[in-house]
């Protein structure tokens, strides 16, 4: 599908096919990701949009092979032309932080509390580029300036707890960018921030992405955030991508009923005095793999045919995919 969206593009930076992730324990199996195809070009920003439990963060972690041992990962994942699934621990150690880096929602748990910010950045540089300590320290200062931390020189010696939330998030971005990754994976990096700080960090990420030409996969539950940063969005529901489109047409009018519901349920200024449209019910538990349209039980357009099988991914417009039999294909 999204491969077909970009026939002219050279080898994509990320190419995942039929990605599945199951979490197996004694009592139950959770079918977190159920066949996700993803393509990302160099220099492109893709937002994975979804609610809690939709499988967006699990998909992101699978791309870096960061899932715990009990997770059973199926399908193929290629990042920068390399098969991630087949990598050894040694290869992964070079791959993570070198070709691909990740930033998280909570910098306080992602950064090490007992080392200074400067040391943590320099450590990554030394580990991957094999340069001297003083060269790495100089690079750490450059990186803090790159992420626009004021009085960067002084902040090198600061511990994570000495920084405000916004500065900590910038420091984590600096660690991630230490080795100029080609792919940045961002897991809700602005969700825990205040509004006035969130917009600063979003603008910084967009600026850095353009400057460094990175590909970015950005996980968020916030349509507004996607609108500010994405080139393309993939909406996830119950472990599958249900709609994928360029951001402009998507914000102008989502086509999958779930994506429409999500946009309708997002409170924005023109809604005052009107009743909010809601999506009734709740997402499925995923203890069984959905064998029909997973959204059908909550969907106002559902018909018997929706329960006949998983709706195929179909092209529903130029560069646009939806998994819904009620959306006419082109």
């Amino acid at each position: 599908m999204s491969a077909a969206l970009k026939p002219e593009a050279p080898a994509p930076l990320v190419r995942a096919r039929d990605l599945t992730v199951r979490f197996v324990n004694r009592d139950a199996t959770v079918h977190a990701v159920n066949g996700v195809d993803l393509d990302l070009a160099q220099g492109e920003v893709l937002c994975l949009l979804g609610e809690s439990g939709s499988g967006k963060s699990v998909t992101l972690r699978a791309l870096m092979k960061l899932l715990p041992r009990q997770a059973k990962v199926g399908g193929s994942i290629e990042v920068a032309g390399r098969d991630v699934q087949a990598m050894s621990e040694r290869q992964l150690a070079d791959f993570r932080g070198g070709d691909v880096a990740m930033i998280f929602q909570e910098p306080m748990t992602a950064l090490d509390p007992v080392f200074t910010i400067g040391r943590q950045i320099a450590e990554a540089v030394q580990r991957h580029e094999g340069v001297s300590r003083s060269a790495a320290d100089a690079r750490a200062l450059e990186l803090l300036e790159l992420v626009q931390i004021p009085s960067a020189k002084r902040r090198l010696a600061a511990y994570p707890h000495e920084l405000s939330g916004g500065l900590r998030q910038r420091a984590m971005i600096a660690v991630a960018l230490a080795c100029k990754p080609r792919l940045l994976l961002a897991d809700e990096p602005t969700t825990a921030l205040d509004a006035t700080v969130q917009i600063q960090v979003l603008l910084l990420l967009r600026e850095l992405q353009e400057k460094l030409g990175m590909g970015v996969i950005f996980v968020t539950h916030d349509l507004g955030v996607a609108g500010e940063i994405a080139d393309r969005v993939a909406v996830m529901y119950a472990g599958r991508v249900v709609e994928e489109a360029a951001i402009g047409p998507f914000m102008g009018g989502p086509m999958h009923p779930y994506a429409q519901g999500l946009l309708g349920a997002t409170v924005h200024p023109s809604m005052r005095g009107k009743r909010l449209t809601t999506i009734p019910g709740a997402p499925p538990s995923l203890e069984k793999e959905p064998t029909t349209c997973a959204f059908a039980p909550r969907c106002s357009l559902a018909e018997p045919a929706c329960l006949a099988g998983v709706p195929p991914a179909r092209m529903v417009g130029p560069d646009r995919m939806a998994r819904c039999i009620r959306v006419p294909a082109v």
Partner: protein, 350 residues
């Protein structure tokens, strides 16, 4: 034994339900070898507000601005260091000698819903036990309290037969927040303080709970204080809005005034920080730089001046008082305060 009923309106419609003046709460920080007080967090520093009968007052601000401390003070979960609270014309915290409303009566008429729906429920009580608990404390029989709990569960959209016997961990986040709302309503309160009630919920569930809150307000004749960091949600639900910055009120007024004619530079920056929802009109420059300062050591004069593009000398010297702008709309900013000495301030007519 009779069922609880909502306390009667005493002061009439013109009497505000809750009037708070000069509310202060400082938290000491202890440190060092001897555990002496080394600093003070000025969490709430002179907040005055009015909640009228039947309205929803929205309180917005960023983390550390004191909005949750204000909520806890309004609920009297914290004792204020200074300040007065008058509930429907009666002093809060009175005794039989001094008159006024006792804390016990006050807390029956004012209830609260918290952000963390799981932490605020007792994990060892079933849902019906949780909802029936406080009416029993206030003298309702167990049978009656349970019946009432079932009515409330139905009112918040949870089928009693399906949910009454479950424990909090057996229901979803949105359902738990509905249970918290049902529990808050069990004492037939007049004022409900909602502290970030939808912030932890997914968008589709958030809309369900907001619709429910609007319905319940109508059905039970409630007044809300709605605290949130989400400006869109506050705009949707509030009649009047109060903007807080570092423990003080920056601006307050009717919702249309605040959103269409914001007077305080902080309010304008907050509104401009909202994502545009239109990829063609993306923001290019952040409206504010930096994070809010630490409330342990707030800036002198106007607390916002360190991040304000309009700051002048007068802003560092004096704290601005609230300048009235139109009916019920006021902003604490030297730039709108007549005769403040700020170059943008209106002149006082001779």
């Amino acid at each position: 034994m009779t069922a609880l009923t909502q306390a009667p309106d005493r002061g009439g419609p013109a009497q505000p339900l809750l009037e708070v003046t000069g509310l202060v709460k400082h938290f000491p920080i202890h440190g060092g070898l001897l555990g002496r007080q080394v600093a003070t967090v000025r969490a709430v520093d002179g907040v005055s507000l009015t909640i009228r009968k039947g309205e929803t007052l929205g309180i917005v601000g960023e983390s550390g601005c004191g909005k949750s401390t204000t909520a806890r003070l309004l609920m009297r979960l914290l004792d204020p260091d200074a300040g007065e609270m008058v509930f429907d014309g009666e002093q809060v915290g009175g005794t039989d000698q001094t008159g006024g409303v006792t804390l016990r009566d006050y807390r029956r008429q004012v209830q609260m819903v918290f952000q963390d729906s799981y932490a605020s429920l007792n994990p060892r009580l079933t849902i019906e036990e949780t909802i029936a608990f406080s009416p029993q404390v206030h003298g309702v029989s167990a049978r009656e309290a349970r019946e009432r709990a079932h009515e409330l569960l139905a009112a918040v959209g949870l089928a009693p037969a399906q949910f009454a016997r479950r424990y909090p961990h057996e229901v979803s986040g949105g359902q738990r927040q509905r249970i918290n709302i049902a529990r808050a309503l069990a004492l037939q309160p007049r004022l409900v303080i909602l502290d970030e009630p939808v912030s932890a919920l997914d968008k589709s569930v958030e809309a369900q709970v907001l619709n429910l809150l609007v319905d319940l307000k109508e059905k039970f004749g409630l007044t809300y204080a709605f605290i949130s960091h989400d400006l869109n949600v506050v705009q949707y639900i509030s009649d009047r809005v109060l903007v807080m910055y570092l423990g003080q009120v920056a601006e307050q007024g009717p919702v249309e005034e605040i959103y269409e004619r914001p007077a305080h530079p902080y309010t304008r920056a907050l509104l401009a920080s909202r994502p545009s929802m239109d990829p063609v009109k993306r923001r290019t420059a952040p409206p504010l730089t930096g994070d809010p300062p630490n409330p342990v050591n707030p800036p002198s004069g106007c607390r916002f001046r360190t991040r304000c593009t309009m700051a002048e000398d007068v802003c560092a010297q004096r704290a601005p008082v609230a300048a009235p702008l139109s009916a019920g709309h006021e902003a604490a900013c030297h730039a709108v305060l007549p005769g403040s000495g700020h170059s943008a301030a209106p002149r006082i007519a001779a």
